[in-house]
Symmetry: C2
Subunit: 245 residues, 2 copies
């Protein structure tokens, strides 16, 4: 039996093949996942909760958030996640993860911006423009995430991460995710926190430069979608090679 602990330190079993034996955080945080009812958000929420963080699913609809949290708790066989509306989730959290569709990225952030000051906003947004989601269509400003950093100003430390991680693999708790996380942000300390959070869920986060560099991760997602289709993959990812051990 492989076990994990919740933020309070007590043991929780998350599956006989779970990868969490090595992923118990020593620094439990309160993490709000906005868009936590979507596939990517649910995958991240599950992994962070299983790793010992307190996770709050955020949604425009508090009831929908609570229902999603209950379902995820069912999968973890323990009540580790809560649900609330986006604003309450952000107020309670010290780290916020944004996993909403590009079309509502800006309005979602605007609605919670008053409570974001001093906190870390991890933005996983990919500027996909349906129906051509396998074609790179970056916004004129370059990066969708960098645009949010500029909108919010320096009081919020925006960090770009998780664009290239398959929701399918995130939700498959019995296996480690074979994908590196490119972590971009202008504040090195905030980036370091996010690199640490990646490690908590068994992934390798890599410092990938300033927030403008998020354009690369955002664009790469369309290539991965294209590759999934061409090569029949359930979720292609990336690894950075030739790094010293």
């Amino acid at each position: 039996m492989i076990k994990s602990t919740d933020a309070g330190g007590s043991a929780v079993q998350v599956g006989a093949q779970s990868v969490y034996s090595q992923c118990i955080t020593n620094h439990p945080r309160i993490i709000a996942v906005l868009g936590g009812t979507g596939n990517e958000g649910q995958g991240l929420a599950l992994r962070f909760a299983a790793a010992g963080h307190r996770v709050i699913i955020g949604s425009r609809d508090a009831e929908k958030a609570r229902t999603a949290a209950q379902q995820l708790n069912g999968r973890l066989e323990r009540s580790l996640l809560e649900g609330s509306d986006n604003q309450a989730a952000v107020k309670a959290a010290d780290v916020i993860i944004l996993t909403v569709p590009y079309s509502v990225q800006r309005t979602t952030v605007e609605q919670v911006s008053a409570a974001l000051g001093g906190k870390i906003l991890i933005d996983a947004t990919v500027p996909l423009k349906p129906p051509k989601v396998s074609r790179v269509q970056l916004p004129e400003a370059g990066s969708a995430v960098a645009a949010i950093q500029r909108m919010l100003g320096e009081s919020v430390r925006v960090v770009s991460a998780f664009q290239n991680v398959s929701a399918h693999h995130l939700q498959d708790l019995d296996h480690a995710v074979d994908c590196d996380v490119l972590v971009c942000g202008d504040d090195v300390n905030a980036r370091e926190v996010v690199v640490g959070l990646c490690g908590d869920i068994g992934m390798r986060g890599l410092h990938a430069g300033p927030i403008d560099n998020s354009a690369a991760a955002e664009a790469l997602t369309s290539i991965l979608i294209s590759i999934n289709s061409r090569y029949k993959s359930a979720g292609a990812g990336i690894r950075i090679t030739n790094l010293p051990d």
Copy 2:
């Protein structure tokens, strides 16, 4: 002894640890490498020559090109490469690889455009803007390579490739290059030729969508430069994960 063959089929030894035993092309082509006196160009020229293609180093200065070709022949211990000015190189070739700095990409292509019709132009250009080469600074149009396809029109099939491959590793003929090649282009058949050429030099080329998707590969290079600096790598690369065997 591990051996390779030149385009004529006779054996050539390229080093006891060479990776070329499995890389003998069945479809030798005439490949012009414009910018073939630079590090990336020399690396590609060496690998393609050792794999059995006929390679012509192109440069604005024919004498400089011939000197570079001689030096590379010295490394291969056989006269496999020639040198000439860019225009003569393009005229003689059926595949052209462009590895010049971004600042001279457009003028170089303009100077040879009359001879490009019907051919495949593999553009490895990365729109780096010194001194901040570790910061993504894509051109306004999105991709530097897509801009060249638009400039040339449909008579030239432009394919984007090799942006993420370290010159250092390309030139180290004793080792395989641990990096996938993202191959983008609007013409699927031309892309397929380039995927095959990647295989000839022991690398995995992957169909990565239309020419606009080159923006991802171009942007990624700045992240790799940033990672090289932060993690002390001689040449970080990328691998796409979770593909079926």
